[in-house]
């Protein structure tokens, strides 16, 4: 479950010294120039620590020329429950839109990855913790539906605290909806590569994110069903170090590989080539 105010601002926004020229690495604590970090897609050039990369950065990293033919950008949240916790849901959405420049917590569309056409989706974690409400669920559903129609493989990057509380039960229903769409997509025997970023928990983890033909995670990404705080409260124990990190999931057989960010494009390309080799062989190249 996500909550925007408990979400730390993305690495790009904090710990700037002076006019944002220098940043302190969250891994090694060394001071790095903001330009160096940005040029390296938020991976520390000294220690390799992966800071959060915004959706725009992922587009630049994975999509050829950073170009995405965006689908269904016009979808925006409604307020079906008239939800308010002191501040209305509408106000929170407006604040998130202003902060991120995005209309909602995911971008989807068609892109090219090393010359291969793909259906592409990436969560905008800065938008209310990447939480999945009706729009996010609808866009993921449309991504699978349209990719099936256009015979595109799907590469989907998840980074989400889970279902969006402010849309209540309708957020929960997005889990069923998106997975049902994925099932239909799967019948076309097109690849689904699920990339789990930091953090991926709750309703997103417990729906499509672990159902990739291949599941890939970034180093040290926090991935799990329940958040660590919920588990600690339930079992009244301190959690072991490394619990729910990508390395823990790899050890327990839940993901196929941990791939460093700077190798991500190459690895995804290779996987797509392998999985589509038989399909390619049927049609003249």
């Amino acid at each position: 479950m996500s909550w925007p105010e408990k979400t730390p601002p993305s690495a790009g926004e904090k710990r700037s010294i002076g006019a944002g020229v220098f940043r302190r690495c969250e891994g090694c604590g060394e001071t790095v120039t903001a330009d160096d970090l940005a040029a390296n897609f938020e991976v520390c050039p000294r220690c390799g620590h992966h800071h959060k990369l915004a959706a725009k950065g992922w587009r630049a990293l994975l999509c050829d020329e950073g170009a995405l033919e965006a689908w269904d950008e016009h979808l925006v949240p409604d307020d079906p429950l008239r939800f308010s916790d002191g501040r209305t849901y509408k106000e929170r959405v407006a604040a998130a839109q202003k902060k991120t420049g995005a209309r909602e917590g995911i971008e989807i569309g068609k892109a090219s990855l090393g010359g291969r056409p793909i259906g592409y989706g990436a969560f905008v974690f800065a938008f209310m913790g990447g939480s999945m409400g009706s729009v996010v669920g609808e866009k993921i559903t449309r991504l699978f539906e349209r990719a099936a129609e256009e015979e595109l493989p799907v590469v989907l990057l998840s980074a989400s605290g889970g279902a969006r509380m402010q849309e209540g039960i309708l957020s929960l229903m997005q889990m069923a909806k998106s997975v049902a769409a994925l099932e239909r997509f799967r019948q076309r025997r097109l690849p689904f590569l699920s990339v789990l970023l930091h953090p991926t928990t709750g309703g997103v983890a417990a729906s499509f994110a672990f159902l990739g033909d291949v599941n890939i995670a970034e180093p040290k990404a926090l991935i799990g069903f329940a958040g660590p705080r919920v588990i600690e409260t339930t079992i009244r124990q301190t959690l072991p170090p490394g619990f729910q990190r990508a390395e823990f999931l790899l050890e327990h057989g839940m993901i196929d590989a941990i791939v460093p960010r700077l190798e991500m494009k190459q690895t995804i390309g290779l996987l797509l080539d392998h999985l589509q080799d038989a399909r390619a062989a049927r049609t003249p190249r």
Partner: protein, 315 residues
């Protein structure tokens, strides 16, 4: 018997009705009085329960005497054979599953099971399944699909268990895979929310062609306590959260998340398990037979359309 403060007047009257009914069984002179008392009880229950707040309904849905899955299994079905285990790790007793006969038809049954009393609750983990429970459910959905048997699920869980072992064994993957298995099953699926419908842990039994809900059940993306803790850092404000989240049967019917609401006996299902099962039986059977004649593909499409339509956004 456990009694919630707001149901005390009703519980007392129901108790008197019971005593009088026993008397009337041997002496018919008590029958007019019994009838009067029954009417009074039902009138009072209607009055009190008409004004219940959402959090009071949540308390009813969690009532310690509420009928659980196996209480319904005993009353609705014959020929029950319980099937255990996920064939991978263990048998999770927070989910019961098996084959049964329902009005002459063989069906696959899957439901979360809470325990009565501390000892059984520990065994049932308070109805909070681990991944092995969901993997047992998946096995059942696939068994049903293979042999063309309808699936009846009974939802009653605070949620999937948040613990170390559950995470190690892939709680997320297990739930996601259960959603997928339900989505593709080429057989009729009818889900009934008999008590608590706690988030993804409930939904893993809920991707059905039709979803029935008992009058005093609830179904939510997060517990009101959890929601209040996140919103206000104060779990005690669960009443406000329960009202915001819209988790009661009439609200969910309006949102299209459930298709049918089944009334409960006077004072709630926990006052009369037999009557609660009888009242559910009518709707459940009608709902199941309403899906007769649909082919496997049509059933999958029907389920797809049902969930495809859920969500509210502006374009």
């Amino acid at each position: 018997m456990f009694v919630l403060p707001f149901e005390k007047p009703i519980a007392d009257l129901v108790e008197k009705v019971r005593a009088l009914r026993a008397l009337a069984a041997s002496d018919r002179r008590f029958e007019p009085e019994l009838q009067r008392l029954e009417e009074k009880t039902s009138r009072l229950a209607r009055e009190i329960f008409a004004d219940l707040t959402p959090i009071q309904k949540v308390q009813l849905s969690r009532h310690a005497n509420r009928p659980y899955t196996l209480d319904y299994v005993k009353r609705l079905f014959t020929g029950w054979v319980e099937l255990k285990g996920d064939r991978r790790f263990a048998d999770d007793q927070a989910i019961v599953a098996g084959l049964a006969t329902y009005h002459g038809r063989s069906v696959v049954v899957v439901g979360q099971q809470k325990g009565r009393g501390t000892k059984e609750n520990v065994k049932r983990n308070f109805g909070m399944p681990h991944p092995e429970g969901y993997r047992k459910a998946i096995r059942m959905y696939e068994l049903a699909d293979k042999f063309g048997l309808p699936v009846l699920t009974f939802i009653d869980t605070p949620g999937a268990y948040p613990g170390i072992g559950a995470e190690e064994r892939g709680q997320s993957e297990a739930i996601g895979a259960a959603l997928a298995a339900m989505a593709r099953a080429r057989v009729p699926i009818v889900a009934t929310i008999i008590g608590e419908g706690g988030s993804g842990g409930a939904l893993a039994l809920g991707v059905a062609n039709r979803v029935i809900m008992l009058e005093f059940g609830c179904y939510s993306v997060i517990t009101p306590e959890g929601c209040a803790a996140i919103l206000w850092n104060d779990g005690a404000r669960a009443d406000e959260a329960a009202a915001q989240l819209k988790i009661t049967a009439p609200e969910l019917l309006q949102l299209g998340v459930v298709d049918l609401v089944v009334e409960e006996p006077t004072g709630g299902a926990h006052q009369d398990h037999d009557e609660a099962a009888r009242m559910l039986d009518q709707t459940l059977w009608q709902t199941l037979t309403s899906l007769d004649g649909l082919s496997g593909d049509e059933l999958v499409d029907d389920r797809y359309r049902r969930f495809r339509a859920l969500g509210s956004f502006l374009a």
